[in-house]
């Protein structure tokens, strides 16, 4: 079962290696990991998608909480999250394929970010599932390169995870 864990951490060197080291050491499987600074420059937010059962998730939460650099964390309820991932796909696109690829991009809410005589680079920000659909749709044209940021997520509604000042 996939779970999304949001972690607020101190924004300084070495924190990411502590978090990722803990996952490898304890045998927790990370599907994706994304990190960036928050509105408070002393705090970074890490979003981790883990794959495991309830026991593992409980251990993930408890072990992460033991890290001094972890200020707060929450597992976001799977049915209440807004999740997004950014993907760039460079696809083979001779002139005869361009129209089709642009149609797909339009339907999927993606953007053409770059174009050459033989390739197009498509940019899409959506859920992990939708990104997979996009990849499947573009596969027949010949995917040359793919890069993804990993999922970031917020909980729907008014609730938020914040650091007390």
């Amino acid at each position: 079962m996939k779970q999304t864990v949001s972690i607020l951490v101190e924004n300084h060197a070495g924190v990411l290696s502590r978090v990722s080291g803990l996952f490898s050491r304890r045998g927790f499987n990370i599907d994706s990991l994304a990190v960036g600074v928050t509105d408070d420059s002393s705090v970074s937010r890490i979003t981790i998608v883990v794959d495991g059962d309830d026991y593992m998730l409980e251990q993930v939460e408890k072990q992460l909480n033991k890290l001094i650099d972890v200020i707060k964390l929450r597992t976001l309820p799977q049915d209440e999250i807004i999740s997004r991932e950014l993907m760039l796909i460079k696809v083979t696109a001779k002139s005869d394929a361009r129209g089709d690829i642009m149609d797909i991009a339009k339907i999927m809410g993606a953007k053409i970010s770059d174009i050459t005589t033989s390739t197009m680079t498509v940019e899409i920000a959506d859920t992990a599932e939708r990104l997979q659909t996009m990849l499947d749709l573009l596969a027949p044209y010949g995917v040359k390169e793919v890069v993804r940021t990993g999922t970031i997520a917020l909980q729907r509604g008014g609730e938020s995870i914040t650091v007390q000042k």
Binding site: E10, G14, Q59, K62, I68, I71, K72, V163
Partner: protein, 536 residues
Amino acid sequence: MITVAQAVVRCLEAEGVSVIFGYPGAAICPVYDALSVSSIHHVLVREEQNAAHAASGFARISGKPGVCIATSGPGALNLITGIATAYADSIPMVIITGQVSTELLGRDVFQEADITGAAEPFVKHSYLVKEPERIAGVMKEAFYIASTGRPGPVLIDIPVDVQRVKIEFDYSFDVSVRGYKPTLAGHQGQVKRMLAALKAAQKPLICAGGGIFSCHAQKELRGFAEYCKIPVVTTMMGLGAIETEHPLNFGMLGMHGQRTANMAVHEADLLILIGARVGDRAVTTPGVLEKRTKIVHIDVDPAEIGKNVDVQIPIVGDAKVILTQLMEKAEPMDHVNWLNELDKYKKPAVYQQTPDKINPKEFIHTLSERAEADTVFVADVGQNQIWSAANCVLRNGRFLTSGGMGTMGYSVPAAVGAKLASPHQPVIVTCGDGSFQMEMMELATICQEKLDIKIVVMKNNRLGMVRELQKNDYAGNYTAVFLDGGPDFGKLAAAYGIPSLSISRPQEVDGALERLLSQTGPFLLECMVDPEESSL
């Protein structure tokens, strides 16, 4: 304005540190320079790992974080086994290491090692201090983090150029770490649930672990057990939490534990774990236990609750506080039938006699009975550890050993720390000839510090524990367990000016113990034991 190195020493003084253990080197020289004019006593060990073990022994007896110090690269790396040993047993420690200059970091220069990275899995927290003005904050946080919650080692790595920078020094501030707020008091609702479960139980049992010592809750544990007449078993780390011969003490549980204790665990209908993490050597089949018995788990580290065994009633907090909370609400009980049942399993130890061979178990038993009541016993790792743990009679002394990590070479350096923490308490080391050869360079430290430490080397010319494993599980294919090249320990001791005695026959035990216990100053007793002797 003072240098960062001087600030480090000022912080140590402000934290009440009186003794530190270490080994100097180029990258830590500024701190050593500052230390030379401090009242803090520096103990020069003979290998860095032993500085960490000594700090750990000091911490376990003083109840305050032990401090050790080493230089960059190999000095720091040699500490790691000692740090990991302390981490596994939740011992508070502050480790200070020198590092190469900031501008050289990451260039693989002479004696550079990424020690914060290398030690990461074995520390509660660590710092690489690149900003000189952060030093006081880091030091204060380190002591706070090491000694509160679930105690553990905290590492501070300081580049040598940073050590030389002059700063304004101020230590009069409060420490607050926003990501670290350990829970002390138990949740009242859970405390109530536990008391209800206790009331309903016919056969309650307390299992006390090393956490009892972390929060100095021996008195509270005993008080609660006596008030509610609950039998107690301990883990190896919990040995001595209640006196060996207390009527409610039913021994050490686990793979190497006593039958009485394991029967008690097997029969109990309510198991109250206090500061015990249900390690695999203590509870070999947690899956079976959790189905049979209702389990209450009291631990300051929430991550330990539910990690190894399913728990019905978790109580997060400091054992001392929670035991006090329990005492306030508990009603006196008597579990007469249950205690009678357990008493039947309790049998006085019978030691098998082989003509002309010293039984090491009986030897330990006699030694501990004849030693002062407040003796600190420090056992190493191997068969000697199991012999000691199972047969040491503890009154108001302590039993120190590397429980979680099982680090050979722990006992002598840990004894050095223990003795310096409490000079008036007798300290007796029990080790094997394998483990002793990993730590015998520390005889020099004992001499240099003029420490009254008694060392018993139980010698069988074998790595007995591994040999036993090979005997039982590898069809007697003995390999790499013969220690025949070992030195004459008596001559070795003499080389350090330490008196010694070697015995091999049962009738010599009496006189040898007399000598060992009456001798002032260090003493080494070599006790020849049968290589065929088993752990249990």
